[in-house]
Symmetry: C2
Amino acid sequence: MAKRKISNTLALAVLGLLREQPMHPYEMATTLRERHKDGSFKVNSGSLYDTVGALARHGWIEPVETARDGRRPERTVYATTESGRHEFVRWIDELLRTPVAEYPKFMAAVSYLGALGPDRAAEALAERAGHLAQRIEETNAVLADTVGSGRVPRLFMIEAECALHSWEAELAWTRRTIAEIRDGSLSWPEVQRTEQGWTWSGPTDSKGSTP
Amino acid sequence: MAKRKISNTLALAVLGLLREQPMHPYEMATTLRERHKDGSFKVNSGSLYDTVGALARHGWIEPVETARDGRRPERTVYATTESGRHEFVRWIDELLRTPVAEYPKFMAAVSYLGALGPDRAAEALAERAGHLAQRIEETNAVLADTVGSGRVPRLFMIEAECALHSWEAELAWTRRTIAEIRDGSLSWPEVQRTEQGWTWSGPTDSKGSTP
DNA sequence: TCCCGTATAGTCGGTCCCGACTATTAGGGG
DNA sequence: CCCCTAATAGTCGGGACCGACTATACGGGA
């Protein structure tokens, strides 16, 4: 599978918005924020203008008007093209079908959990758990205020449900791991340098070395 | 909280490796792959040399030797510094404590699930579910072969357990959503453009419009 | 009426990151 | 013994991404 010409998912959001209505970049940003889509797309003005430019170069969108209100900066309004609308659907299809490797910061830190020692690790994870619980609550509130009140169809906020499930899973894992650290069921070997290679020792693990 | 000087987590991996032993960049890459850490860190030669250079500029690591084997390219061997070792621990602590917004590609696609229509969406999700199941199986096999056989302490592969849980959660959500699409409990409104704004209609949702 | 904070709209320079590429050598099958 | 592949070690140019900055207009309190 050849690499996508544009891989920034912000471009997907742009195509999605322009499918509804011609718009200028600044309006795209505010619309995405209004609809709470800024949890799924990193909306950054710099990236946005870059992305819109790239989409235009590829012929997936095109400028349809350059208006000027008084002496404010010029606004360039864009619309999708036929090929842009097709690309939009193809891209979504591909993103859904084939999982790609992601490298969340949390996973990197968990890789070196050992370096903190059991007490500090448990404490740090506990703080994270608190933040996660709060984030989950906030998202639930947003869902209640939109889908829950019938103002927005559920399908239009489905990604919030997806994110919620993912955070709940992370929270569950975090809490379980805290418990395992505290009750000692996750043994904490100390690493030592020797001339042979690496040696570790711990409450339940036997000594060994990596070749 | 001021922004970190280096945010690429590959730098964390480098600090972690050099804490054990002085090394040259190429050896870091192969070591990370051997230890199956390339699921948590994106190991790319270009990024690696950039990252090592940045770490050296900040004084967190330093070159200790530049050896040359025959007429092969020069190898620069690096070691951590005192401040590098402190930074390592501080960084892990911070990454664990405070969750940051991540923008997985899947979330972006789910945002526009509607654009595929129910049948194609369900089919695409089903294909994803298959890939996820396979990935889970592969990771389980790796865990069985390392931790399961007692060759590596569980703590050293803990991030694989974490990733496994996260994928299992995603798989569960995916399967549940497929079922909801197929049995019609996730209603699929059609969006139409009107002069007022946006109108949708669907089996269970009442008509409405976004202001 | 004057000022100040906020909303509107976008530009710009620099850093980060990637992957394709180069160059050398060890190893092994024919 | 020779060629071909894989492994070793790293370079480089270009594109993606970010966030700080500019500039104008509007609204409301002092």
